[in-house]
């Protein structure tokens, strides 16, 4: 694993826009999310940033970053949470439902086409071998994504301890995720709360 991970790029570099624009109507919200989700093969997030912040200018960069970190802290897939918050930002709970639908409708239809095509060819050695290669790549992509998040936690040395405990608990000792979260979550948040109170 490379020792110097590249910092999370994009967001920090982009200049702030003085005036954010809004979707013309709730229909445009649907189609923009439909558009960005279909571009995102292997990862929707870079396209979400480019379209929502740079092209459409619906969000300033700092708003986008704030929604992303909220989406990370809250339960649920990050992208789903991002769609919910962007929709809610403009049209309340209706917007949340519409943005979510825009993000999910087309991919959910497509995945079954892909899967049906795959099940027809799964037993041909060529496809089976290709899938093996892709699986190895997926493992590498997940590791790289985790490493790319290191800059977000390297401000405090104690953060490495929490990350290492979570990694060892699930990855090495194979303890249930539930127990790891129930033990480490309150401890990490509680100690952070105590540190913030002292400072």
């Amino acid at each position: 694993m490379p020792s110097s991970p590249t910092p999370i790029p994009q967001a920090a570099k982009i200049q702030r826009h003085s005036a954010a624009q809004a979707p013309r109507n709730i229909g445009e919200l649907f189609w923009v999310f439909n558009h960005l989700t279909l571009l995102g093969v292997g990862g929707v997030l870079p396209f979400a940033q480019r379209i929502l912040v740079e092209d459409k200018r619906w969000l300033r960069t700092d708003e986008f970053v704030e929604m992303l970190s909220l989406g990370q802290v809250l339960p649920g897939p990050n992208l789903i949470n991002l769609a919910l918050m962007v929709g809610q930002h403009f049209f309340g709970w209706r917007g949340a439902v519409v943005a979510l639908s825009g993000m999910l409708a087309a991919p959910l239809v497509l995945i079954f086409v892909v899967a049906l095509a795959y099940s027809g060819f799964a037993h041909t050695p060529l496809v089976a071998h290709a899938l093996q290669g892709m699986s190895a790549v997926v493992a590498g992509l997940v590791i790289a994504m985790a490493v790319k998040l290191f800059p977000a936690i390297q401000a405090r040395r104690s953060n490495w301890l929490w990350a290492a405990l979570a990694f060892c608990g699930v990855g090495i000792l194979r303890i249930d995720l539930l127990w790891v979260l129930l033990v480490l979550g309150p401890l990490a948040v509680g100690l952070t709360w105590w540190r913030l109170r002292r400072s």
Binding site: G40, V41, G42, V44, V73, L74, P75, G76, P77, N78, I80, N81, L84, M85, Q88, P107, L110, I111, F112, V114, A115, A122, V127, H129, A130, L131, G133, M134, S135, A136, V137, V138, A139, G140, L141, V142, A144, M145, A146, V147, K148, L149, I153, A163, A164, A166, F167, G169, V170, G171, I172, G185, A188, V189, G190, L191, T192, W193, L196, R197
Partner: protein
């Protein structure tokens, strides 16, 4: 409807996983594998991993597509619906409620403590997901090399992951691994 036997606990687990998916649903992989593959034998290792690969290769939120495929493989279309709704609904209700609250109280100490405290736990969980996948895939030196090369390219370049997946498919199809 024989699938009703297992479908209720199946759905209940996706509801639970939705609540547990702090920091992104990918941290759930080890627990999903434990429940669906190791404990219930509803699908095997290869089905689990290929569902993950197909979810990555198809456009859209990877983990939702992965969940849809898991449900589909086990209980057909109703299973896909249960998995997707289960994985999305509880967390979405929390997100919508919390977003309202946090915009009003963004400087509260516990709001900041939750951000700062959970971040390292999240990163550790993500890394363990990648580690467990890699350990399963690392059957020979060629595959270890492919995994290492993927990590290096993904960290050093801004290449679309689609190209890496295509390269992996090509390397596999040519019989190099």
């Amino acid at each position: 409807m024989h699938w009703l036997d297992g479908a209720l606990p199946f759905f209940a687990h996706f509801l639970l996983w939705s609540l547990l998916s702090v920091g992104g649903a990918i941290g759930l992989l080890p627990d999903m594998h434990r429940y669906l593959v190791a404990e219930h034998h509803w699908i095997n290792d290869a089905q689990f991993t290929s569902a993950l690969a197909l979810g990555q290769a198809s456009p859209g939120p990877n983990m939702i597509l992965f969940a849809a495929l898991l449900g589909w493989q086990i209980f057909g279309l109703p299973g896909a619906l249960l998995a997707v709704v289960g994985l999305i609904l509880p967390s979405s209700l929390i997100t919508v409620a919390y977003f309202r609250y946090s915009r009003i109280h963004r400087e509260r100490r516990w709001v900041r403590a939750m951000h700062d405290g959970m971040a390292p736990v999240t990163v550790g969980l993500l890394l363990s997901s990648g580690w467990l996948l890699a350990r399963h895939e690392a059957a020979d030196w060629q595959r270890i090399g492919l995994i290492a090369a993927t990590v290096a390219v993904a960290l050093r370049t801004r290449l679309n992951p689609l190209w890496l997946l295509l390269a992996g498919a090509l390397v596999g199809a040519l019989g190099w691994i």
